[in-house]
């Protein structure tokens, strides 16, 4: 396993037969899922709900990103564009057009998805590092657009976005009611991603990751599969961004900036590329760290950089990947 050339060296390839339980979860993964749901339920009573919501939004963002890198082997360095655009559109529609929260989030997701259609169509023509550089460049274009477009409010961002009422009925102003909505969105998307990966479609994606020419020779139009995965990933990133903008009531340039693209790569890398729970754990680690680093001042970027380097050199499997290897299960 050690010297494989795949970026997802940390993940144990599971194209071969596996004992799948419900929804494609193995027994160990089911255990992990139970732990995750328990934390979701108990969490807000122990920890600060707004902090948890932020964490869940980033966890979803990282899961969406992981869909692309972990299962198709494509490293996007411009995912902030979809995350941020989702946030802007949700914020704009909720504030200026009076959309209900679920409609605003759907709008954010769909917009990000459409953006993904265009960007993906261009970017999937190249692989590997070219793909990374192209997605980065396209995301930079989106950033420039957001700086200039009047509806984003420039560097002030969109402020005071109302959370509104779910379906126009349930008000979400209280943090706890918002929390359950966010937790629901997160869990639904998390399960959706898992379901996709374990569908026949997901199997083809993994075969592309392992050996694209062979997948092509088997008669799969690999470009279509990759594009579909890209759009899905962008849409879910948009949903994450949209949810986050409603939680905090703000949508700003921070979320479209390239450093956000770097952050989501870091989250996924820390948790474990291509693992099911890795992105969630990675997001938790990085978001928690950012909170702690609020008192570390200027060392924030340095510490993030050190973690990047350490992960690449010594922990390529990430926290969950290492744990899985230790327990000899796939998490």
């Amino acid at each position: 396993m050690a010297d494989t050339t795949s970026i997802t060296a940390g993940a144990i390839p599971d194209v071969a037969q596996e004992a799948h339980g419900a929804w494609g979860f193995s027994r160990a993964q089911l255990a992990g899922l139970v732990i995750l749901i328990t934390i979701l339920v108990v969490g807000p009573f122990v920890l600060y709900p707004v902090f948890l919501m932020k964490l869940l939004c980033f966890a979803l963002f990282a899961c969406a990103f992981n869909l692309l890198i972990g299962y198709v082997g494509l490293l996007s360095f411009g995912h902030a564009a979809y995350f941020g655009m989702g946030g802007y559109l949700a914020g704009y529609t909720a504030k200026s057009l009076g959309f209900t929260p679920e409609l605003a989030i759907i709008t954010g997701g769909v917009t990000a998805g459409l953006l993904g259609v265009v960007a993906g169509w261009i970017a999937i023509r190249r692989q590997g590092i070219y793909f990374a550089m192209i997605t980065l460049a396209l995301a930079q274009m989106v950033y420039f657009f957001c700086v200039q477009a009047p509806f984003t409010g420039g560097e002030d961002g969109i402020q005071a976005i109302p959370r509104g009422s779910l379906l126009g009925v349930v008000p979400l102003d209280r943090d706890m009611s918002m929390y359950w909505v966010v937790a629901g969105i997160f869990l639904a998307c998390f399960l959706l991603i898992h379901r996709i990966i374990h569908s026949p479609y997901g199997m083809v994606l993994k075969s592309i990751r392992e050996n694209e020419p062979r997948a092509t020779s088997l008669g799969y139009r690999t470009d279509d599969y990759k594009l579909m995965a890209f759009i899905l990933s962008a849409t879910l990133a948009g949903v994450a961004g949209a949810t986050k903008s409603l939680v905090f009531g703000i949508a700003t340039l921070t979320d479209v900036h390239w450093s956000m693209s770097g952050e989501v790569v870091l989250m996924t890398l820390v948790g474990g590329l291509g693992t099911v729970f890795g992105p969630v754990v990675g997001a938790a680690v990085i978001v928690t760290m950012q909170n702690y680093l609020a008192e570390m001042g200027a060392w924030v970027t340095v510490i993030q950089g050190v973690i990047f380097v350490a992960c690449v050199l010594a922990f390529r499997r990430g926290l969950i990947g290492e744990l899985g290897a230790l327990l000899k299960v796939k998490l």
Partner: protein, 294 residues
């Protein structure tokens, strides 16, 4: 011929010339990236940070050692190149057997560290660095005032690019380099110390970025972020040119500088995005880039 497409000719020529100067920076940076990529197969995300280090090295030499611009032009690249060699030895060399994407992630992390440390040490508002007296002043070209320093930047960039190209294409060392790119094991078998060559190549690519930084120091704000915005544009330049050829990346760099300069005249608001738009078009028409091999 006072007007060309409604733009006064002097203004147009002036902008073309300025575009060429910007192109010189693009060319130098994309050249360094291409050299590193050619042999190491690594996209050096730290390139922007190393460009910045070059500018800071020039400032430090002046402020702490009283060493002026001309010596800085030689010393700063050497110093920054040595840090590159150390980085390669310590970190990058561990990754050659892995997916290239790990190299990208690693250098990205290194870039974050470098920029963070510099921001801690020197703040973010920038440091003063003046044009050397020999190069200050301007020529009256009739249609515009051309600062002497800008002319020097173009000449220096051209010389540097040409020298690099000659070294790689025409010398024995260059032949080893190119051979090692094709088949490192075979070259090693002929008794060439390939790992050392790789290390030195990385150092050389980094030094090229540092030269760019020294050249930029007198005219751009010397601050820790100065490289990070530039580098994304340079990535687009590299994608357009294709990483196959050294000459290709240099030509693309200059050409895109000129295109950007023209856009500043006809549609200034779009001059930031024009390079990215060209990138998208080129990818649709020629996925391997203009000079790349598929």
């Amino acid at each position: 011929m006072d007007d060309i497409f409604g733009i006064p000719a002097p203004l147009l020529f002036g902008q073309l010339l300025l575009g060429l100067i910007n192109g010189a920076f693009y060319a130098m940076l994309s050249l360094g990236l291409a050299v590193i990529f050619g042999l190491l197969n690594i996209v050096n995300m730290a390139h922007g940070a190393q460009f910045m280090m070059g500018a800071f090295a020039a400032w430090m030499l002046l402020a702490w050692g009283g060493i002026g611009y001309w010596w800085a032009l030689i010393l700063a690249p050497i110093i920054v190149g040595i840090t590159g060699v150390i980085m390669e030895k310590l970190f990058i060399s561990k990754l050659y057997k892995l997916d290239h994407l790990y190299g990208l992630l690693l250098t990205f992390g290194l870039a974050l560290i470098i920029e963070g440390v510099f921001r801690n040490e020197f703040g973010s508002s920038g440091l003063p660095y003046r044009i050397p007296p020999e190069l200050s002043g301007a020529w009256d070209l009739g249609f515009m005032f051309m600062p002497v320093y800008r002319g020097w930047v173009v000449i220096a960039a051209l010389i540097l690019c040409l020298a690099t190209w000659l070294m790689i294409e025409k010398t024995r060392l260059g032949a080893y380099l190119r051979a090692a790119t094709e088949n490192a094991a075979l070259v090693q078998a002929f008794g060439v110390n390939v790992p050392r060559m790789i290390t030195l190549t990385y150092g050389f690519g980094v030094a090229l970025a540092a030269v760019g930084g020294v050249l930029a120091a007198p005219i751009y704000s010397v601050n820790p972020q100065m490289g990070s915005n530039l580098i994304i544009v340079v990535f687009a330049v590299v994608v357009i040119g294709g990483m196959g050829s050294i000459l290709g990346s240099v030509l693309t760099g200059f050409a895109l500088g000129i295109v950007e300069g023209l856009t500043k005249v006809f549609w200034p608001e779009a001059s930031a995005t024009v390079i990215f738009v060209i990138m998208a078009i080129v990818l649709l028409a020629r996925p391997a880039g203009l000079f790349g091999r598929a």
